[in-house]
Symmetry: C2
Subunit: 188 residues, 2 copies
Amino acid sequence: MKLGPKEQKFIYHFGEMGSKWGINRTVGQIYALLVLNKEPLYADQIAEALSISRGNVSMGVKELQSWRLVKVHHKPGDRKDYYSALSDAWEMARTIFEERRKREIEPTLSLLRDILLDSGSAKTSEQDAYAQGRMTEILELLELVTQWSVDLQRIQPDSLRSLMKMGSGVTKILEFKDRAKGRIPESK
Amino acid sequence: MKLGPKEQKFIYHFGEMGSKWGINRTVGQIYALLVLNKEPLYADQIAEALSISRGNVSMGVKELQSWRLVKVHHKPGDRKDYYSALSDAWEMARTIFEERRKREIEPTLSLLRDILLDSGSAKTSEQDAYAQGRMTEILELLELVTQWSVDLQRIQPDSLRSLMKMGSGVTKILEFKDRAKGRIPESK
DNA sequence: CTAAAGTTTCAGAAAATATTGAAAGCTTAG
DNA sequence: CTAAGCTTTCAATATTTTCTGAAACTTTAG
């Protein structure tokens, strides 16, 4: 694994970002390395390229697999595990987006549902009522966002790309909807 | 600051989530506390409610201010700083989204632009070419996402809510667009 | 079955991060 | 101007997270 200066920079950067992204430095570096390599790599190559221990690679790869960002391959007549990253940027983004939703939003959603279930009790003070109001508001927003992101996942990358390119132009669709009040608009 | 069991739970949870969200436990707790309190709180109240040191509160609040999630108030004839959180869930979400984009995407964007600027050099191997291809692909995606998120920020919360409620129905707008262009209609 | 070639686990060491609390710094009423 | 009443800073300490490397484990060729 000989790395050019650009690859080095990219890998180093992903390491740095790792912490901000909630994964750790090593995991970020391993991922970057795999993204840049067309050919799958096996554990020792990764360890060598990044100067980290064999055990650390094992941990990191496991973590990346739990994110569904890295897959294992086998070559006939070879017992090693070869690892590679998803190779399409859209698929990468989609996967990261989905996993983050699961890890960052879902737990809060469950908690809020739980807390607000027995909303009959304990609203003794004005304060309590306010607090529960805020929690309810947050719960509703998170539910909406979750549903939306599930919906977005269904859209084909190509359509998504066009949609994004439209930018805030999409609001025009809302105008149609409002104007039509139930009937389907015909003219563009 | 007497906290009910629900408030406790919520605050504790935000502390836990803090690490996953790239802020720390204390900062998460302070934020949760402020979100739930209608009235702004001053540093000592926060320290007491959460059993943390005065200095820690200062750090945490500063961090939250840098996220634009917390504001300071002053009461006439009172020298204390009173802190409060944004009180609208949509505004909260918008702010968090925007700040995260700045912290998590922008740096990578800059780096990739930098790296790929002198794309004339050093594509010696097949590997190098592949690596740079991947970087370019990622750069393009990030640019698109960034632009899109800037566009979304411009949309009014009300419109955004309607838009999200439509879910994958928005793709219909693409059909309009395509048809208008004289392309093959995509109707189901 | 055994040895070779690999992977995973995990306890301890190292590194990074968060927290405290005392001291230094501001700000303003008087 | 200065002292009271706050806030901020920061060095030391505590806590948490990450990393290593050796041992345990797994798989398969022969």
